[in-house]
Subunit: 126 residues, 2 copies
DNA sequence: CAGAATCCTTAGAGATACTG
DNA sequence: CAGTATCTCTAAGGATTCTG
């Protein structure tokens, strides 16, 4: 046997794909990480996350909310204050995310080295 | 202090973003997982990964190759045979990926429950 | 301050057909 | 079998403007 059968939990349509689709966009992981230390306000996230636009932040937050990973608290104050925090379910994703960041810390340089050793996407003509 | 300073390793421009950008697309993680058990041929990956097109597979493989995470072996045979395998560097990414799949296995249902408890992306008018 | 709504520009991604 | 090359379409994502 060379590998994976049709019932493999990761490949093809299976629950594990969910994790990838949840994470496979530009901002989801960053936002979750930003919430990993406790409740944070909308504006704080904008400042702390480099380069995210208001639109993308809100959109990402809504998606995470719909998936049950974060909760939104709107306080009836003026000026308005809204805080987001991880749900217990969302908190379970922090460990995997931390593993990713640790990986990047440890291996980021190696990847960058490989990148400029081989700058252009090689076309394999053989 | 409420959270993250400008020097935080994850947010803003920093090496940890690399991990996200590497992973934040539809197929990268799936392909890496597909290679986690040893060298695999192009065609095998197509079969084993549900729904990927030839184009996207090749494109993903090229990118991973350029980042130094996988290696390509083309055998001068007929019919042609090409195998891909993780580099030592690429192998270090398998643990974090496994954590993601474990997470999905454990919490996938909870996410789906949350999704159909709240089917449409709520517009917060408050 | 938080966010909804619009417009606009690309990148992502599938389908198909062709080559060594 | 492995891969490249187009063509096309959609959706991601940014900038900007407007409102409670």
């Amino acid at each position: 046997m060379s590998g994976f059968g049709p019932g493999d939990p990761f490949l093809a349509d299976c629950p594990a794909r969910l994790a990838v689709e949840l994470i496979a966009d530009k901002w989801t992981v960053v936002v979750l990480y930003g919430l990993s230390r406790g409740p944070v306000r909308h504006g704080e996230l904008i400042e702390v996350i480099g380069g995210i636009s208001r639109k993308m932040l809100t959109q990402t937050l809504r998606r995470l909310e719909a998936h049950g990973l974060i909760r939104r608290h709107a306080y009836a104050e003026v000026p308005p204050r809204v805080e987001y925090e991880l749900t217990p379910l969302g908190a379970t994703l922090i460990d995997p995310i931390h593993m990713l960041t640790e990986w990047a810390r440890a291996n980021g340089d190696a990847v960058l080295d490989a990148l400029d050793a081989d700058p252009e996407p090689v076309a394999h003509s053989d």
